[in-house]
Symmetry: none
Subunit: 212 residues, 4 copies
DNA sequence: AATGAATGAGAATTCATTCAT
DNA sequence: GATGAATGAATTCTCATTCAT
């Protein structure tokens, strides 16, 4: 209560052992139901049911329904950025890095189809809301890609006549658009793998320096 | 509800001339307010106000709120596809056609920022709803792009090792992603024009046949 | 929408004839149910039922449940003050005026027992809320009484050693307390009439100037 | 609920000494928060916080939230009645007794402003609830006052033409109304003291027998 | 055709109370 | 006895849709 007027999410974090996973269970449940029905069509009681908790428990861990969606982005995008950075660091060439970015992301989401749908579809659900919350996190994500392209330009592997952030947006857009049509369609993993190879190849050649 | 499979819009506007513009006014108003607040946050009364008609009048021209959104896609995507096809037909080479697709779309939406936001943001608002209604129309749109790529492959200008529809999705994704970040950001026309040139250049080179 | 950000109550005030009494019907229904169950124990749906309108209709005429209570005070106290002033003006002596105040108020409320209970009991229900809204109106009411006492002091009929507003408060308190115990008890009109005579007599003699 | 007519409070506090002050701490905390926000706007968790105990602990000492309010009346009114009776007994004349009643009560509440607000404001919060529980205790309190008046009538000091209980109600009402306006206003002790003198003087003269 | 007051189903959120620790 | 996380019933308010005018 000494911090009573804070704005973010509460956090019971109980006795000490065990049930600290309740927040995580709610996030997982929410991802599942948001993916199926979209943010607005999902009732809080459905999130609760999917998480196996009571309706009121949601409000012990999140300020409101919006906060649940925001928290998904914050948690999951953070994790994605972390993995991305770690894996990129292992690559030798920038080409490999670009390929890694593409494969990693499509692969990751292939294994977490619900999260894919939530991030691609729901990211745009509450414009005003997420413009404020998700935008910064999203910017950080784009920076990781832009940085790789910029690196390639410096080392002479990539052409200098494209704006790194612009290219990053285009690349992200390709991945996102592909994911969306894949996730909304009937989503065969093989399709995604082929798409991923195609995108890598188009972008790598499209970005290559003249003499490359 | 008892007659579920009705034609979507009642469509008064008898003879052909005259008050038929009320439907159009409603669509325009809806585009404006959907762009500002998103589909779910927009109240039917707000659409009515933006269109300068009474709440009840909406239901004379549209089955319900969903139908207004669906109609925007149907009308506007149709128009976009028509323009796209007509302009493409005027181009000599496939490269020109690809460039035309890109510039046309970004230019068009630059002049109709609201429609851009509705199409990129709201397309994803009601998964289930639009999956059924917008998907087919959207597929037709992708086919136009895929057809140009396919044409380039046949004539030996584009590489054969990419799937035309996959490439079309990637290209659409690039445009859409660029538009979204542009529309949600502070949206300077010049940015969009530069982005458009970059995307064209990346894709054209990325799609070019070896010896091209 | 040009006046969109106003703070008070909306006001449909329909076509022109007739149903303008809906607001009044809601107020009357609310008085009835607030009297029976108190403000907090009364559900909005009960107000609606008592008024014979749909739940949502309440919100066409009032901002929220609080606003209904506030409006009762504003409307009814205003009416009471108006009657009070008019009747007082008809009296010859200040003694008559004081008697009029007492009888008028107890009589009035005798015929509107529900209103009596709402004003005496519910006035104090939402401290903070009514402190802001009802207090000013209430002050105006006390002023009417204080003014009569002050008048009596000037003309030498009443003693000068009491503060007019303080005496007004005491007189109001007597009436209010009597009303409360009467309204909460089994409320026989005769009891109230006797009480009213007693109070008048105590206060008149209590306020009289020495030589009176 | 199945055992409706239970004794009100569970009352742990075994032997007699020791932790029995927890009940008192809760009552004190409740008086504080009820005074600030009213009964209905006060959450049980706020009472707990004000008392420095856990939410659940409240239920070890009180059956429920209602019971806390009821207990405040029972405890505090009892104490007030005891003090009243004791002090009255010390007075020589009935006039002194009436003055004692007035000063005692206003003085007492001046030093316990929160309790004043709880008793005057909250007494009326839950009609049905308190009608049953507080009414009898309140009746006992009125009887003390009525008895003094009755005594004065018998001894010829007070006029016989007023009903003792009616006069007691009027006197109580004056005190209560004065307290309310004082407690809800900016509550300067001096105001209250002056008011108290005024009330005493009005009532004593108002109740005096003709030849007094 | 057009209107907009009225409707009432639906959903988010709160909070008194319980009970495992 | 004490705790406070969890519960879920209860309630306000919103807003798509209808329909009398």
């Amino acid at each position: 209560m000494s911090e009573g007027k804070e704005e973010s999410a509460p956090a019971p974090s109980p006795g000490g052992r065990g049930s600290g996973d309740k927040r995580e269970r709610i996030l997982r449940g929410a991802i599942r139901v948001f993916a199926r029905n979209g943010f607005y069509k999902t009732r809080v009681s459905e999130i609760a049911e999917a998480a196996g908790v009571a309706d009121g428990t949601i409000y012990l861990y999140f300020k409101n329904k919006d906060d649940v969606l925001i928290s998904i982005f914050e948690d999951r995008l953070d994790a994605l950025i972390r993995v991305l950075k770690r894996e990129i660091a292992k690559c030798q060439t920038v080409e490999e890095k670009v390929e890694k970015i593409i494969h990693l992301q499509l692969d990751l989401l292939e294994t977490e189809r619900d999260l894919a749908e939530v991030i691609t579809v729901n990211l745009r659900q509450s414009s005003r809301l997420l413009k404020e919350y998700a935008a910064p996190k999203f910017e950080a994500y784009l920076q990781v890609i832009a940085h790789v392209i910029s690196e390639g330009q410096t080392s002479g592997v990539f052409r200098n006549d494209v704006h790194p952030v612009g290219a990053a947006r285009a690349l992200w857009g390709s991945l996102d658009g592909t994911l969306m049509t894949w996730a909304l369609g009937d989503a065969k993993p093989s399709t995604l793998r082929k798409a991923s190879t195609n995108i890598a190849s188009i972008f790598l050649r499209g970005l290559a320096a003249e003499g490359g």
